[in-house]
């Protein structure tokens, strides 16, 4: 009897960690980004419905899961699809057409999916999101960080080219929001308690390098798509390059409300006004 129970427990454990099939559908939508100061500019995003929303869909899968991803081009121009640092899914999608790609990821990580067509214009226009690969059951939060130069969006939307050597962004967002609104996003705002293990998945889908500084705590790098040798480092400031991903682990040792912001302090602004930029707080109780 004891052996049977042991086998049953083992069988359940195997079942609970077995890879599963995950199907997702993403629409390429065109719309308008309304910034924290009310200014609006042309924008695009990968959304789960045909309705435009400025925040790109966050896709979550387990390690070794089979992800089947259908992407529908809901726009009037050609788009593309790719996953950074993943081989074999780079595709073009004609207007009104769709493609299906499959992927599987062998370790806990975070990837950037993006529109690879007309690079970097389409990805800059907003078409880039994150794929989170995780089997852990810890609290999770997600930051897709990005910067925007209003005039560039409107210029690219009209089909003109821009000079990336003159790029000077004026809006800085996490999941499409800036301070203070970003604190309302429960996926973004880190909340937890002392000694709790918290995972933070960060992607940079902008063109600039951002240097995220955490008040109050050091965090451990669990995954870095660009610098694998950095895994295990305990730091308070984390540079993140364009189209790269980081997974950080936080175990708070005290209560309090602590900010996180890009330490290129120009980014703590929106439309040239401090402090409507890349600034969020964590709340540990």
């Amino acid at each position: 009897m004891k052996k049977i129970i042991t086998l049953l427990v083992f069988g359940c454990a195997v079942l609970s960690t077995r890879a599963v099939d995950v199907s997702e559908t993403l629409y390429i939508n065109r719309g308008e980004f309304v910034a924290s100061d009310g200014n609006a500019f042309a924008y695009m995003a990968f959304n789960r419905t045909q309705n435009f929303a400025k925040e790109n869909a966050i896709i979550e899968v387990g390690v070794d899961d089979n992800l089947e991803l259908k992407i529908i081009n809901n726009d009037t121009i050609v788009h593309g699809f790719n996953v950074k640092n993943y081989i074999g899914v780079d595709s073009e999608i004609q207007p009104g057409d769709s493609i299906t790609v499959t992927c599987s990821f062998s370790s806990e990580s975070v990837f950037v999916y993006y529109d690879s067509y007309n690079y970097p214009n389409n990805v800059y226009m907003g078409l880039s999101g994150m794929i989170v690969v995780s089997d852990n059951s810890f609290s999770k939060f997600y930051w897709n960080i990005k910067e925007h130069q209003q005039t560039y969006n409107d210029t690219i939307a009209k089909g003109y080219s821009v000079d990336w050597q003159s790029y000077y962004p004026d809006y800085f967002t996490i999941n499409g929001e800036s301070a203070p609104n970003i604190n309302i996003d429960t996926k973004a705002r880190v909340t937890g308690s002392v000694n709790e293990t918290i995972y933070l998945y960060i992607t940079n889908t902008g063109q600039s390098i951002h240097s995220m500084h955490f008040h109050g705590y050091h965090l451990e790098i669990m995954y870095s798509s660009k610098y694998t040798a950095h895994v295990g480092r305990s730091k308070d400031t984390f540079p993140i390059h364009s189209l790269e991903g980081l997974v950080l682990k936080l175990v708070p040792d005290k209560t309090g409300e602590y900010p996180v912001h890009d330490h290129n302090l120009v980014t703590v602004s929106g439309g040239g006004i401090y402090p409507m930029g890349m600034f969020i707080t964590m709340l540990i109780q």
Partner: protein
């Protein structure tokens, strides 16, 4: 017997407490917003900053705060400037919310008020302090300084039980955009009834690129340089409080390795002559030349949006040789490998001048342990170890000699 044991115990505890006494470190920082800074071209700009006393003007960067790990640090921030209030954020020190210096989440210090900050010095390492009121403006205005936490015993080791160094050099990078130093920017709006007062920021386009507050000829005049000897170990602290990225290119002959970042030791040492330091980051680099040479550390300042290098500064490096054979023997040459490069076999020779806990390791360029030769108490003498088939892959490796837990010497080893 019991009494004797108890006496011994209390004597031991008393001695240990006194060996690593945890002190109170009291620091006073005077905030002024009418400082004058002379730039490399002779122009002057208005700066905000921290002065050491009421009789002095603020310097950029502000005074460096030193403490030993475990010390209780107390900072009295006295704001004698008119205009907006100020704070200090203790960057990387992981203080509690009350001492974190973000005005809307802790407190701000008004004109002619004192603000008191307290923290227990954490891990030995390099940290920062800066004002967090209207931070893009106040940091650019000059309100920043270094905090250096030494090991508990105050020794020249990187952290408790870490590598020993002979010489230390801090390179603290920032930029100056003179437009941001005009009265129209520095006298920004401030409404104490608001959690945060909105303030316009000018386009950031710095013209001056600073190391320890100096640039160009000022670096030479102010002796911002590395003067050292071959076989001396130098600890270089790199810190970036600017809004650009820094690419720090060290002379290859310094045999540099990154061992720490943001006040913590790295789990794997990184051997490199190029260190990227992004805004708010700090790195600890051990540098030890084998030969006499003159060169410079090149620091590039690049725009984080365009990646274009907008400024370059040079820090002179002068590595002198030994004055005598005796000096050379006493300073180093405890570790040699021959032949080097080698194909099949090589001999490591170690000279121990006093009984020590001796550890000899071979590590690869990624800092991974390849072979652990020795880890035992050894009397003074000369010891040899044979490298035979431990290394299968051709390439560069490092042999390290540690005495009493401290890496005292490293030799490059080439497997053909």
């Amino acid at each position: 017997m019991m009494k004797a044991l108890l006496t011994s115990y209390f004597v031991f505890v008393f001695c240990m407490v006194n060996v690593f006494a945890q002190n109170d470190v009291n620091v006073m920082l005077i905030v002024r917003n009418t400082g004058i800074k002379i730039l490399d071209n002779g122009d002057t700009i208005r700066v905000f900053g921290f002065a050491e006393n009421l009789g002095s003007q603020p310097d950029v960067p502000g005074v460096t705060i030193y403490a030993n790990e475990g010390d209780s640090v107390h900072i009295d921030l006295f704001n004698v400037s008119q205009g907006a209030p100020h704070t200090i954020h203790l960057h990387g020190l992981d203080v509690n919310q009350q001492n974190d210096g973000v005005p809307q989440l802790s407190f701000e210090v008004e004109h002619m008020d004192h603000g008191y900050y307290h923290f227990k010095a954490p891990h030995a390492g390099t940290y920062l302090y800066h004002c967090h009121v209207e931070s893009p403006i106040h940091v650019q205005a000059g309100m920043y300084g270094l905090v250096i936490i030494r090991p508990s015993d105050g020794s020249n080791t990187t952290w408790n039980g870490g590598p020993y160094y002979h010489k230390e050099l801090s390179l603290f990078m920032s930029e100056i955009d003179t437009v941001w130093h005009s009265d129209s920017v520095l006298n920004h709006p401030y409404d104490t009834s608001l959690a945060v007062t909105p303030a316009p920021l000018p386009i950031y386009n710095p013209q001056f690129f600073l190391v320890n507050g100096s640039s160009g000829q000022q670096l030479i005049d102010n002796s911002v340089e590395l003067n050292t000897q071959a076989a001396s170990r130098n600890y270089i602290r790199l810190t970036n409080i600017g809004y650009y990225g820094n690419r720090v290119i060290l002379p290859t002959a310094l045999n540099s390795k990154i061992i720490a970042s943001d006040g913590r030791s790295l789990p794997q040492v990184e051997y490199t002559d190029t260190v990227y330091v992004y805004p708010g980051e700090r790195y600890g680099v051990l540098a030890e030349a084998d030969i006499e040479f003159v060169d410079s550390i090149k620091i590039e300042y690049f725009d984080l949006n365009t990646y274009a290098v907008k400024g370059v500064e040079y820090i002179s490096v002068n590595v002198s040789g030994f004055n005598s054979v005796e000096e050379a023997v006493n300073s180093k040459n405890n570790l040699s490998v021959s032949p080097n490069p080698y194909a099949e076999k090589a001999i490591i020779t170690v000279k121990i001048v006093a009984e020590s806990l001796v550890s000899i390791q071979i590590i690869d360029v990624k800092g991974r342990l390849v072979k652990d030769f020795e880890n035992a108490q050894k009397a003074a003498g000369i010891y040899t170890y044979q490298i035979s088939n431990y290394i299968e892959t051709s390439g560069i490796y490092f042999v390290t000699l540690s005495l009493d837990g401290r890496v005292v010497e490293t030799q490059k080893l080439i497997k053909k």
